[in-house]
């Protein structure tokens, strides 16, 4: 049951993120971008952390408790920080576009490709 709900939420978050990216508003597109990241991180932790009943500490392991998967958590931990880095890069792009072209409407800046 909970798997279904998780999958449903991840799918909805992903769809909403993509929808924001497709719209014209660059500020909301940046937020959509961040929502995409959240959906992906949620997915990975959900896949990795389900089985365990306890946090992955040595003391828990020694007490014979079933812990969650530490490896995927370590990967997501760094991924969160790195995705924040790329998110700030996106914000930087929005910022510079608004400064140079005085717009945050993606339809207005289609000339950038040349």
């Amino acid at each position: 049951m909970i798997e279904l709900l998780f999958a449903l939420s991840i799918g909805m978050l992903f769809g909403i993120g993509v929808f924001q990216l497709l719209r014209r508003d660059l500020v909301k597109a940046a937020i959509g971008f961040a929502i995409l990241f959240s959906a992906i991180n949620l997915f990975f932790v959900a896949v990795g952390a389900f089985e365990g009943e306890f946090a992955p500490y040595v003391s828990n392991v020694e007490a014979g408790r079933q812990t969650s998967d530490p490896l995927i958590q370590a990967l997501i931990l760094t991924a969160i920080v790195v995705s924040f880095g790329s998110f700030s890069l996106v914000l930087g792009f929005v910022n510079i576009i608004s400064r140079r072209y005085d717009t945050v409407d993606s339809n207005d800046i289609n000339k950038l490709k040349h």
Binding site: M1, V47, V58, T67, V81, V94, V104
Partner: protein, 975 residues
């Protein structure tokens, strides 16, 4: 002497001379002496290896590189490598000495020899490498350094840029073919040597040369063609020869070194290296022979048509390279001896001629043969150098070139082929050598002896410039008499069969043919005025190249038309392709068929209820970000998503991830809000108002975007459901981590993985993060003046009437947030944040929190200052907070900490217990601390992350000079 050291020394010296310290300490003359001495020492070091090589045949040395993939840095020294390495270092020493007097400007000289040293290292790596992959990397490095050296004067000289690009394009394209050929070759060698294993790549030359039956393999034709293309492009063989004359824009020392003595012979080296396993194939040797002979003829003919002195030398180099390739293509490897003698002789006379040409160019300012003349009295040394070297090129008895031509003619006369073929080959060889003799006479007479057309400008170059060319000419003059002690011992190692080599083999047919050629060359020389420029070729490789480049540009423009620039367009194509592959391969239906979408078990536990609540909150907030009009509310809704997911992590027993998630999402939300303050409200209002209406008043676009998002959302939903229901059993490595974490003195297994087990990964992640931060800085720092005023200028906006700035921007003024209360909060929060951060680092091993969270915590407190106080005041009050320095500090600590264990015999990023080593384990242990390399790494992570955040915050909070931005935009529009 270690081969790895020999290869590494030039690179090291190049790096050393590139440091500001070396540039300011060593003048031009000391740099010249250092580089010359180093090359001479390398030459001596290689020469010393000769007796050992005579005893052992081959010296191999291996440094482990990526053992799990079977890739190693292996070095291989046999007679062939030794021959080339001696030329590279020996000629190199003279070139480096010469370069010291060729350049007048010390900075130019420094820049030149740095690149020339890098080239020398790459070239040595090429001939000393024992592995096809390493050889290929060196091969490409020589192309790249050659590109830089040809384009050395590219800043002012368009021809230099074009020549450099042409050379890189042709040799780079050839290298693409070569790498495919080499990989296939090593796969085939693996099949032959290990027939019972599936796929095994054997890249070591030592092993490849054992696989004698390669030439019978079904792939061999393709392998041969690919390797031939690689070698032909590098060694300027027809029809790829045209890049070499174009490369003459390089400074002359580089032309003499790269484009005559060493790099252009890399293709020849490769052919000779692989010859033992390839020569039994008919295609291989006939291609070498045919292309080589054609190149020899065409190069020799074009040489005498040149008016540019270096152009003449370049084409005659092309011709000689063709001759050498043709000799490697003689059946049964019978031409190898002649090829190697030619390589040695050519290195001596052609480098000398190039260096003399450089001195002439330096002295007179021109290289046009019809303007030069009468230099015999002004430059007597260069005259005699040219006489000896040109005659050696022509094959005058009893110079070194004579030996080369004798062995060439001898090898060709013994070419065992059907009569018509033999006659054709001999005609080509004789005609080419006649042209070469003619070019030699032209060099001597037209440059030095004939009366110049008009008075030449002349200034005598420094006298030491003569040393290099003079020594080379001396070599051409005397080495013919010193074959026995000097040349033959090296050749004996390189040539597979027993051979004889004499300066004078008696009055036989070869000798008389040789004399006849010299005489015929003289006759042609006397008749040159009416003869030259009569025959023209219908097309040249250069024109084909130009056509090709024009076609490429056209193709590029055409492809650009397919780019719409809309995100939806790309998303549809990407997803459509993925969906197409899934559907048509039948994978999708296979996977869905076995799934139960609606679970049978609908029971939920209490913790599940909490999770469900958080999931609902997340999705609701996400929908809210779409529907809400105000950007600030959308940003806060985004913060809610981040927090809710953080709570889910917490419930799912991932406390470390939860902590990072909460902190980072706070930071992200703050960042969005700061950024919103930097965009005019009017600008944002415009886009908000048009959000739900299409451009033409209808909503087709909205429906289309909704459709795309729903398709993607459903796909991701199905994918995650299947993944979650079939999630794999925990990987064994995770179990290993759980049981071994206590060996690195941590309780928190996630922290142990981040800082220790997968530390290299983390090191790269913080590098990526700081690079992203630098990206933000570069984006937003445009137009910022160094040391300029920090206050925004509010003027000249009226000059740009189409931008209406009347709309008041209420968040623009950050100081409106600055109330006494917020100020005191921000003052109190920062020290507390620093304390919390330190606690998280020091005690991160026992609970949630680590370097990442510490860095973000402190970064958050600092960003609060920027939000509350504004950029200027925050910058003034926090003088110690210099993000760029902090980032560097963090990365340096991380790298030093990672490298230190290597020096004490542990691996990269090995775990070191400093507290035990210092004997304070008990003392710090009583505070619950362990001072280990992991702890230092956590500190480094915290510092780097804090610095990266600081860079981002500073860049985004920097007061903008909007009028300047708009003016820039206007300029961009106009261009």
């Amino acid at each position: 002497m270690e081969l790895a050291v020999i290869t590494g020394v030039p690179f090291f010296l190049a790096l050393l001379l590139a440091t500001p310290f070396a540039r300011s300490t060593f003048g031009k003359s000391s740099q010249t002496l250092i580089s010359t001495a180093v090359m001479a020492a390398l030459f001596a070091g290689l020469f010393i290896a000769l007796p050992r090589l005579q005893a052992e045949g081959v010296i191999t040395q291996t440094l482990t590189w990526i053992p799990s993939l079977g890739i190693s840095l292996s070095f291989y020294l046999d007679g062939l490598s030794l021959l080339f390495a001696l030329i590279i270092t020996g000629i190199g020493a003279l070139i480096f000495f010469y370069a010291g007097f060729y350049f007048d400007d010390a900075r130019e000289h420094n820049r030149f020899i740095i690149w020339l040293l890098a080239f020398a290292g790459a070239m040595l790596a090429l001939v000393l490498s024992g592995n096809v992959l390493m050889m290929f990397i060196a091969w490409e490095l020589t192309s790249i350094t050659s590109f830089v050296l040809i384009g050395f004067k590219g800043a002012t000289d368009a021809a230099a840029r074009e020549g450099a690009f042409k050379a890189l394009f042709v040799t780079g394209a050839g290298a693409l073919a070569l790498i495919i050929g080499l990989v296939m070759l090593s796969a085939v060698a693996g099949q032959i040597l290990y027939p019972h294993e599936d796929i095994r790549f054997v890249g070591d030359f030592a092993s490849i040369l054992q696989a004698q039956t390669i030439y019978k393999h079904e792939w061999f034709t393709l392998i041969a063609i690919l390797i031939l293309i690689g070698g032909f492009t590098k060694s300027a063989q027809l029809p790829f020869h045209f890049w070499l004359p174009g490369a003459m824009s390089a400074p002359t020392p580089a032309s003499a070194y790269l484009h005559s003595a060493t790099m252009v012979k890399a293709g020849i080296y490769l052919f000779a290296r692989l010859s033992p396993v390839m020569y039994k194939n008919e295609l291989w040797i006939s291609s070498l022979l045919t292309i080589g002979l054609l190149t020899m003829l065409v190069g020799a003919y074009f040489a005498v048509k040149q008016n540019d002195l270096k152009g003449l030398l370049a084409y005659s180099t092309v011709s000689k390279l063709g001759a050498i390739v043709a000799m490697i293509g003689l059946p049964q490897q019978s031409g190898l001896k002649a090829a190697f003698v030619a390589i040695i002789a050519h290195a001596f006379y052609k480098s000398a001629l190039f260096l003399a040409a450089g001195a002439i160019d330096h002295a007179t300012g021109t290289r046009a043969i019809d303007q030069l003349g009468g230099l015999r009295r002004k430059m007597p040394t260069m005259f005699w150098v040219t006489v000896v070297s040109a005659l050696s090129m022509a094959g005058m008895p009893f110079l070194l070139g004579f030996v080369a031509k004798e062995t060439l003619l001898d090898a060709m006369l013994h070419f065992d082929a059907p009569r018509p073929q033999f006659v054709m080959v001999m005609v080509v060889v004789v005609v080419s050598t006649v042209f070469t003799a003619m070019a030699a006479y032209m060099l001597i007479y037209d440059v030095f002896m004939k009366r110049p057309a008009q008075r030449l400008h002349f200034h005598q170059p420094a006298s030491w410039i003569r040393l290099g060319p003079a020594l080379l000419a001396l070599g051409s003059l005397t080495l013919g008499f010193l074959l026995e002690p000097l040349i033959i011992p090296i050749l004996e190692l390189a040539v597979p069969k027993a051979f004889e080599l004499h300066l004078f083999a008696g009055f036989n047919e070869v000798f008389f043919l040789s004399l006849a050629i010299l005489l015929a060359g003289l006759i042609l020389f006397l008749l040159r005025k009416p003869l030259i420029r009569r025959i023209t070729f219908p097309f040249s490789g250069d024109e084909v190249y130009r056509e090709f480049i024009a076609y490429l540009e056209w193709a590029g423009t055409t492809i650009l038309h397919t780019q719409s620039g809309y995100v939806r367009y790309y998303l549809v194509i990407i997803l459509g392709a993925v969906a197409g592959v899934l559907i048509f391969s039948g994978k999708l239906s296979d996977v869905i068929a076995g799934q139960q979408i609606i679970p049978s078990d609908l029971s939920v536990t209490i913790t599940d209820l909490a999770k469900i609540f958080m999931l609902i909150l997340t999705v609701t907030a996400a929908v809210f970000t779409v529907l809400v009009r105000e950007h600030v509310k959308a940003a806060i809704a985004y913060g809610v998503i981040g927090y809710a997911i953080g709570v889910i992590f917490l419930i799912d027993h991932a406390p470390d991830v939860a902590l990072v998630q909460l902190l980072v999402e706070t930071m992200a939300t703050v960042l969005i809000i700061i950024m919103l303050g930097r965009i005019r409200a009017g600008t944002r209002l415009k886009v908000i108002n048009s959000l739900w209406t299409g451009r033409h008043g209808h909503n087709v676009g909205l429906l289309r975007d909704l459709g795309i998002s729903i398709v993607i959302g459903v796909t991701v939903f199905l994918f995650s459901l299947i993944s979650l229901q079939n999630r794999p059993q925990r990987h064994s490595i995770a179990e290993w981590h759980l049981t071994h974490a206590k060996e690195v003195n941590t309780d928190d297994v996630v922290g142990a993985i981040v800082a220790d087990f997968r530390g290299t990964d983390t090191l790269l992640e913080i590098a990526v993060f700081t690079t992203a931060a630098l990206g933000v800085l570069t984006l937003l720092a445009r137009g910022r003046k160094r040391g300029g005023a920090l206050t925004p200028v509010k003027a000249q906006v009226s000059a740009l009437p189409e931008f209406d700035l009347d709309v008041v921007d209420e968040i623009q003024d950050a100081t409106s947030l600055s109330t006494p209360f917020t100020r005191s909060v921000s003052f109190i929060v920062l020290p507390i944040a620093i304390l919390i951060g330190m606690a998280q680092i020091l005690y991160g091993g026992n609970g949630p929190g680590d370097g990442f969270t510490a860095g973000v915590t402190i970064g958050l407190a600092v960003s609060l200052w920027y939000v509350v106080l504004g950029y200027n005041e925050a910058k003034n009050l926090l003088p110690w907070f210099r993000p760029a320095l902090i980032v560097r500090l963090g990365l340096v600590i991380a790298i030093v900490n990672a490298l230190f264990p290597v020096s004490i015999g542990q691996g990269f990023m090995g775990h070191v217990e400093y507290d035990r080593a210092l004997g304070i384990y008990e003392i710090v242990g009583s505070f619950g601390l362990h001072i280990t390399s992991s702890l230092i790494f956590e500190i480094a992570i915290a510092i780097a992350v804090m610095g990266g955040l600081g860079i981002i915050i500073e860049a985004i909070a920097y007061p903008t000079d909007r009028s300047q931005d708009l003016a820039e935009a206007h300029d961009a529009e106009r261009n």
